[in-house]
């Protein structure tokens, strides 16, 4: 089976769907890979490396039997797809209904990375986790760079530097990684989440759990249930009282398919010390903070608000490496011997598929 890797066109996107290492691994699994020249350049993978890994960089990736991407294809790209062709990528099936419609019309077998069920067997394909890992780590670096203070405590001849206090709201994959990274840097870290199991997980990283007295439930997939309006209000109030204690707040709270929950009202931001930093990893879904400007870094009330929407792309090398592994695992699942063999009974195949040949799934 031939797989094409086009260059990502989305502005600011530096990742690539397959890295040379994955190309050579797929090669031994019966796949042939067409890579568009320059596809990996922004992620520090030169064309030479692809060629050495056995990729074909002369053919157009769109000619292949399947196309793997990071971001959903643009309208123009969709036009190059054909009936029965395979498409893999973050296709935003829950929010971009129009895009999915277009794909259905072209009759492609489209698999959305974010729709892969979060079951044990599917973990190697779980791109949400791998990219969230990057975001969580990077969020701390973004905050640390912008904070006019030290993260760690230092007792020096010129006096003692108090450690920064960091609060992480939403302790899923990204949140836990943020907690771990901030803790490593020496900050005093607290985590908060509405799922009850998270308390132990936060503590297992050496941090403390912020008890607000608000706990929701976990749904079957391990995701959080959306809070009721009343619960949301109580949460906002409780947080407004506690947030001014912190120098850095990193928010990651998401509920799949919904707008990100509003956790930090403008009042809470105003209460923070000048120079404090908020990194809102939920910016793409509207942000957990009322003042977040998705895609931008702004200052409000002397507080820096980091609302970058594509954090993993700022660390393209490893983000691509992990994503490529996820994609390869999915490809090997869909085409075990290098030949497409879609088993619609299979939980992963059925779950990840958003459009099918000749008919929408």
């Amino acid at each position: 089976m031939r797989i094409g890797v086009p260059r990502e066109l989305e502005p600011g996107e530096r990742r690539v769907a397959l890295v040379p290492d994955a190309v050579s691994r797929l090669g031994t699994g019966g796949f042939e890979v067409f890579v568009e020249p320059g596809a990996g350049a922004a992620a520090s993978f030169p064309d030479k490396a692809y060629a050495e890994a056995g990729a074909d960089i002369s053919n157009s990736p769109w000619e292949a039997d399947g196309v793997v991407k990071v971001r959903k294809p643009s309208a123009e790209e969709v036009g190059r797809l054909r009936d029965g062709q395979l498409l893999v990528g973050f296709l935003e099936p829950l929010t971009d209904h129009q895009g999915i419609e277009r794909l259905a019309e072209r009759g492609v077998h489209a698999f959305a990375m974010e729709s892969i069920p979060r079951i044990t067997r599917a973990q190697p394909m779980d791109a949400l986790s791998s990219q969230a890992t990057v975001s969580g780590y990077k969020a701390v670096l973004l905050a640390a760079e912008r904070l006019p203070r030290f993260f760690p405590m230092l007792m020096t001849a010129a006096g003692t530097v108090a450690p920064a206090k960091v609060l992480v709201l939403g302790a899923g994959v990204a949140g836990l990684q943020a907690i771990a990274t901030a803790h490593r840097l020496g900050a005093v870290v607290a985590g908060f989440d509405v799922r009850p199991v998270v308390k132990e997980q936060v503590e297992s990283l050496g941090a403390t759990f912020l008890d607000l007295g608000i706990l929701g439930e976990e749904t079957a997939g391990g995701y959080a249930r959306e809070l009721t309006e009343e619960e949301q209000r109580r949460q906002q109030d409780a947080l407004e009282g506690r947030i001014p204690e912190y120098d850095v707040v990193i928010t990651t709270a998401l509920v799949p398919g919904r707008a990100a929950p509003r956790l930090i009202p403008a009042g809470a931001v105003a209460g923070m010390r000048p120079g404090s930093v908020i990194v809102d990893l939920a910016a793409e879904a509207g942000g957990n903070c009322e003042l977040t400007q998705p895609g931008e870094i702004v200052e409000r009330e002397s507080v820096t608000l980091v609302g970058l929407t594509n954090v993993p792309s700022t660390m393209p090398y490893h983000a691509s490496q992990l994503y490529a592994r996820n994609v390869s695992a999915l490809l090997q699942h869909l085409a075990p011997e290098g030949e497409l063999a879609l088993d619609w009974e299979d939980e992963i195949t059925a779950g990840a598929c958003v459009t099918r040949e000749q008919a929408a799934a």
Binding site: Q123, T133, V173, L176, A180, Q201, S204, L205, G206
Partner: protein, 465 residues
Amino acid sequence: MSRDVTNLLYLITIVTFILALRFLSHPTTARRGNWIGAVGMLVAIVVTFAQHAVVSYWEIAVGMIVGGSFGAVAARRVRMTAMPQMVALFNGVGGGAAALISLAEFHNLAPDPGSLKTDISASIMLSAIIGSISFAGSMIAFAKLQELIRGRPIVYPLQQPTNALVFAAVLAAGIAIAAGSEQQWLIWVLVAGAAVFGVLFVLPIGGADMPVVISLLNAFTGLAAAATGFELENNVLIVSGMLVGASGTFLTLMMGRAMNRSVANVLFGAFGQLAPAAAGGAVAGATDGQVRSATAEDVAVMLAYAHKVVFVPGYGMAVAQAQHDVHALAALLESRGVEVSYAIHPVAGRMPGHMNVLLAEANVPYPQLKELDEANAEFSRTDVALVIGANDVVNPDARNNTASPIYGMPILNVDNAQQVVVLKRSMNPGFAGIDNPLFLNPKTVMLFGDAKESVDKLTSSVKAA
């Protein structure tokens, strides 16, 4: 050689036996201890030969050659797995010898009125009873372990009254002897009755509990030997017999404790009043399908004498925040020449890289961390896989059981190692909420408790080993 000189020379034997016991209690010196004991025994035999009261040299020498060769051949020939029944056998013959000595002494002294002082006759009766019980009981234990008779508890109606009756008869004969009766038949009744009691006593005990019973009978034989010492006014017999009696008793208690059962439960459990404890099982006698729990000392010895140990951390290590302690244990093992590495499962813990973060904090060197494939290639040459609060990531159902919700997940094949030790607090499942057949694997022992505390205990025990 006069009797007094003999007794003084016996002091050498006494000293060697004390040293032998000390040395036997330590893994590094145990073998040397056994040799020291053997040398002491040789001294005692030579000294006894040299005593001028002993005359029938030849007969004795022949007897020794006969018995010795039997012992040597039996002990050398037997398979390693049959060692426990050998111990039972040799213990039995020792008890038998003590009983026979008493029989002969009584036969010898009784006709000569007044020569039997109360303490002597009391000693004779004690060593005859205890020796005889030990002989017969050990033989039954031997037969059970050798599967000459079935290993399961043998119970029948009116068992307890029968036992009580036999014991009462033996006791009556014993009291009569101690009280000064010099009837020959009494001693025969005594010895025979005690033998019957020994049989009845051991029959209802299950095969898995035999090690504890043998240890108890071993202490009995020691006591019988000490009693013969009183009969013969012989210091080496009193001291050695009592040393074995005392240390054997203590050892029996410790073995019971290691099995999480009281000795009373072991001995009388089959009578139905005391149900066997649900959780524990004997380390020595466990069979497939049973959970075996070990002590920290036990695991420490495994680790200390292993060549290669692989640590398998999981979410439990994180919860217990045991990473520093784990590194300290690994460093200690390394300093003892053990090859150490860590097998990191890609989804161990609750976030990607969870184990990495913790182990880096504890300064574990990166090259010691092995990925799944690399680690799996190593388990077959691993002596001990030490699973620290991991569960799902070592669940063999993922490999074998198509019905399992985690079927298909690649796991760490710790069951390829020689031995597996699992540190967790209970039999509770992990994240996936499913049972783990690894815990029932005969290769596996569980060390229950908080991971941090367990690892700390292991570290101190390894230091002591």
